[in-house]
């Protein structure tokens, strides 16, 4: 994981737009602020407020969610139900990419997703 300073240096070093070939609209048609975020320690462009899942898809990243079994899989439901799109966001594991929105200085990691500091569901049986 990059520390804050490394992040700032990387951020400054980008001056060309990483091509987002999966965007349906041209840049000029989109009113959201364009910001730089980190995906797997690499600085890339994203639109503030779009879902983390769509940022990943727009950068052609479709395989992620290392689940508890280390298996790579793709997002499935796109609406928060299946938990197949989990990534690490700002250091917190197991965040659903489809249900989180892009914010300034966000750091997304699609490579690790361990079971940490989460409250397990209470078993009724």
């Amino acid at each position: 994981m990059l520390n804050k300073n490394e992040f700032q240096t990387q951020k400054k070093s980008i001056n060309t737009i990483t091509l987002r070939e999966n965007d349906m609209l041209y840049e000029g048609e989109i009113g959201n602020r364009k910001i730089v975020i980190m995906i797997n320690d690499e600085a890339v462009y994203a639109y503030q407020g779009e879902s983390v899942l769509s940022t990943l898809l727009s950068h052609k990243i479709r395989g992620f969610s290392q689940n508890d079994h280390g298996k790579v899989q793709g997002p499935y439901c796109g609406m928060g139900v299946c938990y197949c799109c989990m990534v690490k966001i700002n250091g917190i594991n197991k965040q659903r990419a489809c249900q989180h929105s892009i914010e300034d200085d966000m750091r997304i990691d699609t490579r690790s997703n361990h079971f940490t500091t989460l409250i397990p569901a209470f078993e009724k049986e």
């Binding site: 349906m24 989109i30 298996k71 793709g74 439901c77 796109g78 139900v81 938990y83 569901a121 209470f122």
Partner: protein, 476 residues
């Protein structure tokens, strides 16, 4: 948008879900002067059908949305806005469960947990796409039809380039049009139902001419664009190294068993698949409402009376959560449930309410008749259960393959709860929302037992994984 949930000094009606059902319930209450709170986990109101884009664009809605839906969505959201003094909407607010003895729900909003008391609870949580495992279905590039559609509808991003659509029901045609309009190459639509089953239901479909006309419009559009629609065909499996690259389809017999000697392989990078929906009943279950099983209409759904009261006091259920009949029905049911609450409050009597709802109920009858027109075509058949092979992952969260489930059944296990204990299928983060339907139907088939005997996976609190920090923040 509010950063923090403000708990009102005295409890008011709380509505879970800002889709057509929930919004209409809130508006109907507001028209009668009753204030309410809506909580929804999406970033903006609209629900699954009227999902708003996450990007600011001049059109307001995604360019793939047709004019009719745009108008419906705009009208609904303008109405909601008109009553903003009476209706407080909390978005990005996920309900983790409820305490029915305490008449309260637990909401996660901005990494903080809040307990919200209600005077009445309207559960309008809609539905999700049912997953039917087949070889390769966990590969990146395979998504639900609706899930993929949300990408082009709400995120304005293409989830792939060359897509095959398999499944059943009218959503496939709409999605094919939208994917095409989004600039994706649609190889074809493979509808599992037989064309004859659709033709036989034309009398039912005539119950709503405008909706029937919409369907015909989509079909002729696809024809014009050279996108073929194959009836009686469906998925066999998917292959690829790190992502989808080959999709195998085959004709289905009348039980939806694929005829493998006639299978065809298509090169494509994406598969959209939808063999039906499941009602999103985790909350009605967790709160203890009684449920019954309906094979065609989303599986288990909460029992409701004519005012959409559930078996639990003060709790109503409306929209797709109470049976999958689509957005028009959801709108009407939302209104009827609100009138039901007015009756319960003594604000109007039963007779007045019946009078107020007479035309709504007529409408409902017609819409439901239309929806039943798809029952023959689209009711999921047993052949689908034969798709996964021994090594196909059934429960994605806990990585449980079919052979583990078969082994458990061989030891005499005959209900889903025991199956879960033996294999961990359904014990993961999604709490069985993905594998629960398959496990139930597969068990029922293999053990020849009824759905009631097989039972359903219990929804557990919290309904979603949550950090200790969020609970701690709520304590402050």
């Amino acid at each position: 948008m509010m950063n923090e949930i403000i708990v009102p000094s005295s409890p008011c009606p709380v509505i879970i879900g800002a889709g057509p059902a929930g919004i209409n319930a809130a508006i109907t209450l507001a028209e009668q002067g009753i204030e309410s709170i809506i909580v929804d986990e999406n970033p903006a109101p609209g629900g699954a059908i009227f999902r708003q884009p996450t990007k600011k664009i001049s059109l307001g809605f995604s360019p793939v949305i047709d004019n009719k839906s745009r108008q419906r969505a705009t009208r609904l959201l303008e109405n909601l806005e008109r009553y903003k003094d009476k209706i407080t909407v909390y978005n990005r607010a996920q309900v983790l469960g409820g305490l029915s003895e305490g008449d309260s729900i637990i909401v996660l909003h901005n990494n903080r947990v809040t307990e919200l008391h209600y005077s009445a609870l309207f559960i309008c949580t809609g539905c999700y796409e049912r997953s039917h495992p087949f070889p390769g279905w966990t590969l990146p590039g395979v998504m639900g039809v609706g899930g993929m559609q949300l990408q082009v509808k709400s995120n304005l991003v293409r989830p792939g380039h060359r897509v095959v659509i398999t499944g059943t029901g009218p959503l496939l045609l709409l999605a094919a049009k939208q994917f095409h309009d989004a600039g994706m190459e649609v190889v074809g639509v493979y509808e599992a139902g037989q064309k004859m089953d659709l033709y036989r239901e034309i009398p039912a479909l005539l119950a709503d001419i405008p909706l029937l006309f919409d369907g015909i419009k989509y079909l002729s559009y696809l024809k014009k664009q050279g996108i073929p629609v194959h009836y009686g065909w469906g998925i066999v499996g998917v292959r690829g190294v790190s992502e989808v690259s080959e999709i195998t389809v085959a004709p289905y017999d009348k039980d939806w068993q694929p005829l493998l000697n006639k299978q065809e392989v298509i090169n494509a990078d994406s598969l959209a698949v939808n063999y039906g929906f499941t009602s999103r009943t985790q909350l009605t279950q967790q709160l203890g409402c009684a449920h019954s099983y309906y094979h065609d209409r989303g599986g288990f759904k909460p029992d409701v009376d004519k005012w959409h009261r559930t078996s639990c006091e003060k709790i109503y259920a409306a929209g797709d959560v109470a049976g999958i009949y689509g957005s028009y029905v959801a709108e009407v049911e939302g209104k009827i449930s609100a009138y039901g609450h007015l009756v319960d409050l003594g604000q109007i009597n039963d007779k007045e309410a019946n009078l107020l709802c007479a035309s709504l109920r007529n409408n409902l009858k017609r819409l439901i008749k239309f929806q039943h027109g798809f029952s023959k075509l689209s009711s999921p058949k047993e052949g689908l259960l034969s798709l996964p092979d021994k090594n196909t992952v059934i429960c994605r969260c806990e990585n449980v393959t079919l052979d583990k489930i078969d082994n458990a059944i061989a030891t005499g296990i005959g209900d889903v709860t025991k199956l879960k204990m033996a294999t961990r299928a359904g014990m993961g983060d999604c709490q069985g929302k993905s594998c629960g339907d398959f496990c139930r139907n597969y068990l029922a088939k293999q053990t020849q037992r009824s759905q009631q005997q097989i039972g359903k996976l219990n929804a557990r609190f919290p309904l979603a994984p949550v950090t200790f920090a969020a609970f701690a923040a709520g304590e402050k």
